[in-house]
């Protein structure tokens, strides 16, 4: 993969279409002709001494491009310019001698030829390598995130589906309109929980909608026991955010707040924007993690890893139990930066 990148960079940097080649030759001829006209023989010879090894090096790199890695390309470049400088030195001296012009000292000519060629040919290759490495890292990171997201989205648990459908079956016999209502929530939930993979970005509004369908299903399943409230300010509905972060928190509140606690449990989901910071809070007055000091939550760790990969230190997640006995999952995201994240 790296070698492919390298070959592509070499072709881009040193190759040219015949039209461009012709134009370059014309420019060279112009410079050479100008120097001849002005009788700057020393400059002309030095120019030739620099350009010829440069051309040979480019040609060598282009011919060998497919077989070269970054390191071997660099080595070849240095070796070719060095050897080229040695090779053109006698020609340079004899031409100047023929014209009767004083030649520059050998070391200066060599330094000049190697220096100019390494700067003109070598530096772009070096930058291309740096860029290719950064790009490769970014690609890997994106691929990892996409794979993880895919795994998350495929995770509509059979258990969830079976239980929901069992509820619907009962309702269909006894309260058909509610069964229809439940199916509509289920369809809408599945529709947004299993989107096609092109849409890696989502919006706050969409995520709230998804959480709303999920909570509506749970409210039918658990009856009186679950009361919930979703509050997404209309002005924030279009703010971008990664998909399924909010769902993880809501599922968590149902699983660890509602399910283990007898009696009624309230879940509230809110979002506020303060400058560039979007804060989403999922609060429940359920069981929390209870008396146990040590817990083993894998879902939340995944969430934190996703946040870290997407935003680094610019996003935060805290799970806490406050004074009022509410378990609060607090997610903070950079609201402005959210737009560029999944590009």
């Amino acid at each position: 993969m790296t070698d492919d990148d390298c070959a592509r960079a070499i072709r881009r940097l040193y190759g040219c279409a015949w039209r461009q080649g012709l134009l370059s030759l014309l420019c060279l001829a112009l410079v050479a002709g100008g120097a001849l006209l002005l009788r700057r023989y020393a400059l002309l010879a030095l120019f030739g001494a620099i350009v010829v090894p440069g051309f040979v090096t480019c040609a060598l790199l282009l011919v060998a491009a497919r077989r070269l890695g970054w390191t071997s390309a660099m080595t070849l470049l240095l070796a070719a310019t060095g050897a080229g400088a040695w090779a053109v030195l006698p020609a340079y001296q004899s031409v100047l001698a023929a014209w009767g012009v004083q030649a520059l000292p050998d070391q200066q000519v060599l330094a000049c030829v190697v220096g100019v060629n390494v700067a003109v040919l070598g530096l772009p290759l070096w930058f291309a390598r740096t860029r290719a490495h950064a790009q490769q890292l970014a690609d890997l990171r994106n691929a990892a995130l996409a794979a993880e997201l895919k795994a998350l989205q495929a995770q509509v648990e059979p258990h969830f589906l079976y239980n929901t459908l069992a509820n619907t079956r009962y309702l269909a016999r006894h309260q058909p309109p509610r069964a229809v209502e439940m199916l509509e929530h289920l369809i809408a939930y599945l529709h947004s929980a299993l989107p096609d993979m092109r849409s890696q970005a989502s919006t706050l509004g969409r995520e709230f909608e998804l959480a709303g369908h999920y909570l509506a299903l749970m409210a039918i399943r658990f009856g009186e026991r679950l009361q919930y409230q979703l509050d997404c300010p209309p002005a924030l509905a279009a703010v971008s955010m990664p998909p399924l972060l909010l769902m993880t928190l809501v599922e968590n509140a149902v699983c660890h707040g509602l399910e283990p606690k007898p009696g009624t449990v309230r879940i509230a989901v809110t979002a506020v924007r303060d400058g560039d910071v979007l804060t989403i809070v999922v609060a429940d007055d359920g069981a929390g993690i209870g008396e146990t000091t040590l817990g083993s939550g894998v879902g939340l760790r995944n969430l934190r890893e996703r946040l870290q990969a997407l935003y680094g230190a610019r996003a935060g997640f805290v799970l806490r139990r406050g004074d009022a006995g509410l378990t609060e999952a607090v997610l903070t995201l950079p609201a402005a930066a959210a737009l560029e994240v999944m590009a």
């Binding site: 648990e157 059979p158 258990h159 079976y162 239980n163 459908l165 069992a166 509820n167 079956r169 009962y170 309702l171 006894h174 039918i220 399943r221 658990f222 009856g223 009186e224 026991r225 399910e259 283990p260 606690k261 007898p262 069981a287 993690i289 146990t292 000091t293 040590l294 817990g295 083993s296 939550g297 894998v298 939340l300 760790r301 934190r304 805290v318 799970l319 806490r320 139990r321 406050g322 004074d323």
Partner: protein
């Protein structure tokens, strides 16, 4: 013979109603009572003394496995389990009756038949099975700690070190210092000994975050952390951990 009494316990009201309805059809001469959580089921079990109990395994309050243990020798238990919740092989080996949600009527009819046939004899002892079905505790990933009046849930991966502080333990992460209501000793017992090293009577350090251990001029050994200025003492007793460093 008096009508057999059946207790149905499930925390999802519609599924509970569906099971009650199905049992009324399959076992018309039975009396049926329903409980909405483990606590109500326990009360009904004590006061009403059912002959058979259909127990959802996952319930708030008391779960089905716990109830089965309490009902013990008096009540025949049929477990109701959600798909994928438990390895069904364990039930089959233990010769225990169970039905899988969503309930299929034929499967429920078979379970009813079996339990009716066994009603005259005492129920099998489930203690052994119940302890096998209990999920093994997983290695902890989180801990709860208090800062002022707020309880924080701290990912163990974020912990730098623990420090004994009177009868509590102080936990230090990159951004937070908080208190845990456990002694360092109790904490050490429940944490992975490969991830956290006790290096002193009062200190336990996250191995991942150790940058170096170095001797000071007076010969004492100190641990330095990566990305944190704290320096922790290593007592004589624990210096073997750093042998070869």
């Amino acid at each position: 013979m008096t009508a057999p009494r059946i207790l149905v316990a499930d925390d999802e009201p519609l599924l509970r109603a569906e099971l009650v309805e199905a049992l009324e059809r399959l076992w018309p001469d039975a009396q049926i009572a329903a409980a909405q959580d483990g606590i109500e089921a326990l009360r009904l079990g004590r006061e009403w003394m059912p002959d058979v109990a259909f127990l959802d395994i996952r319930m708030p309050g008391l779960d089905g496995l716990e109830l089965a243990r309490v009902f013990g020798a008096r009540t025949h238990v049929v477990f109701v389990t959600a798909y994928g919740e438990h390895a069904l092989a364990a039930f089959d080996e233990g010769a225990v009756d169970y039905v899988v949600k969503p309930i299929a009527l034929e499967r429920l009819a078979r379970a009813v038949e079996r339990v009716r046939a066994r009603l005259a004899s005492p129920p099998p002892d489930l203690t052994h099975l119940v302890s096998r079905l209990r999920p093994a505790p997983r290695a902890p990933a989180w801990l709860q700690a208090t800062v002022g009046n707020t309880i924080h849930f701290i990912d163990l991966a974020d912990v730098l070190y623990f420090c004994a502080d009177a009868k509590y333990t102080r936990v230090v992460t990159d951004g937070l210092e908080a208190h845990i209501r456990l002694s360092l000793k109790e904490l050490a017992d429940s944490l992975d000994p490969a991830a956290f090293w006790q290096i002193h009577r009062g200190y336990m350090v996250a191995v991942r975050r150790i940058a170096s251990a170095a001797r000071a001029e007076d010969g004492a050994l100190w641990v330095h952390l990566r990305g944190h200025p704290a320096r922790l003492p290593v007592s004589q007793r624990f210096q073997y951990l750093f042998r070869g460093m």
